[in-house]
Symmetry: C2
Amino acid sequence: MLEYKKEGKRTPIAELGEFGLIEHLTRDIVPVNASTLRGVGDDAAVLDPGQRQVLVSSDMLVEGVHFDLSYTPLKHLGYKSVIVNLSDIYAMCGVPEQVVVSVAVSNRFPVEALEELYQGMKLAGSLYSVDIVGGDTTSSTSGLVISITVVGYVQKGRAVCRNGAKEGDLVVVTGDLGGAYMGLQVLRREKKTWEANPAWQPDLEPYQYVVQRQLRPEARRDIPPLLEALGVRPTAMIDISDGLSSEMLHICHQSGVGVRLYEDKIPKDPQTLTTADEFGLDASTVALSGGEDYELLFTMPLADYDKIKGNPNLTPVGHITAPGSPCRLVLREGSEIDLKAQGWNSFQKEAQE
Amino acid sequence: MLEYKKEGKRTPIAELGEFGLIEHLTRDIVPVNASTLRGVGDDAAVLDPGQRQVLVSSDMLVEGVHFDLSYTPLKHLGYKSVIVNLSDIYAMCGVPEQVVVSVAVSNRFPVEALEELYQGMKLAGSLYSVDIVGGDTTSSTSGLVISITVVGYVQKGRAVCRNGAKEGDLVVVTGDLGGAYMGLQVLRREKKTWEANPAWQPDLEPYQYVVQRQLRPEARRDIPPLLEALGVRPTAMIDISDGLSSEMLHICHQSGVGVRLYEDKIPKDPQTLTTADEFGLDASTVALSGGEDYELLFTMPLADYDKIKGNPNLTPVGHITAPGSPCRLVLREGSEIDLKAQGWNSFQKEAQE
């Protein structure tokens, strides 16, 4: 398993100091977006939205709650911490162009560890054409905390919110679900084996897809332009960070409608199915409640169904029902149950229930 | 000293869950700015900048590093966490209109504690006409971490950056310096006394001003319009969060110039002087290195000196020298020394030197 390299260069953070550190980590950042007028290094970044509206969202990742450094490479963590933020902007049908990064870190991390974290952030920035325009590092008394704010843009009046779902709308998910959760189960099992026998090396080859879904997810930047090209305008959209059930309930709650989801329609990768089987878990439950897949869930007029029919990226999984009606899951054998938010909830694990 | 109330209602966070909690904390928030199209409750906030440019900045406050809950009321902490962010926008000559809040908190805090924290944030929002447009709460394995991002606006081309100081410019500070640091010393001393004798109640009356500077600072929203009214356009500006020395060095470094600051010109409140004296500290050193005053430091053309002369809010403390020349402090008795960044540095306390 991983541990931050004991060999090689380990520069204490104090050697650079807070200002030296952020300069060191950010000096090779070159903005690529015309909207970035001034990036890292001032009291605030200066951005020019042109004629567009601005989207802003933040996500915080806390060591021991959202990630475990014993199996999470820092570069992947940096990458993922940017991706989970970009995902929120795509879920509004916007384009992310800037991120502002805050990192709290204890002195047990050398400068080189932060360099790896930033490498992952810069890689995500570079692959998604997003500028890092603000960076702040501070010390922490215990673990690592990463807080990222993303700024995105959308044509005036074109942001897709959670509150526009209408009775009769089709409910659609992108990609497949449950993989990230099964990847987490695999990593946790390998960690336990390794704790019992530190000489042991994990073989993650058979779990490559699900582990990658967990450690190095991608955001669906392709979906807003795809929908545009297909002539489909979502009525509501959200990204799936907490599991299909809880995201669906957010849309229904904010739109004031009900839903009927079909268990047998929920898209899952074959490796998610075999891994769930191996762990004795129900793959549908995993897909409904697992979270962290960063796929998109949206509603759209039923009349446009032909435009998405057969598209491998887009799977209809249900339909919106009348205002005030319940949110239901139709099971494989035909019976119906209430849809419950069992999404990953960072407080739940400490709950008394 | 403070401890989160042992009596009264203590609702476990798990009882509300993550989504219930943020809804509970943010449901009474009503946006006041026309630029806030959609606030809390979606993947991202939707903002309309109109014809203006956008300013974005983040600050993270970590328990045990930036604040000590034994003497910091949660409401004050919430207030201050917003203020330190707004200050960054005023330092660009902009107007803050939105904040996005992320809070990581362990289960040792009941819901009521977070309500107090949010009360302080909402109060700052209300007094400064700033909307809270995004809120995220997550659990933490140890302390409380608050990360806030502020969005501000400025007329195109009117942002004042750190890199515009010119040779001959006047260096000006607002208000007075060193108070927040002396307030911190008083609070730390009272804490020690209280630890030795828990029955003892501190009398903070004689230190009211400096303690307030530490616990409940204000941001200088009045300065950008004041300068506008006086017809003064700063060439560079920064807010004083880390002490006058280190902020001055940021401006000089980014503008590629030197400076000569005069020790005897640095403005200090009488209570800062008497408290420093009581603690055996040099008040000038405190003002130069103390930090957390959230005053503004700016440079301006010497030709405009008459416009600010005698203004009690604005004190000239030195002048900018030629590109490449050193940054110097002229001491009271006339000798000169190099200006050093001894600003409060969250990593320094752990440094080996």
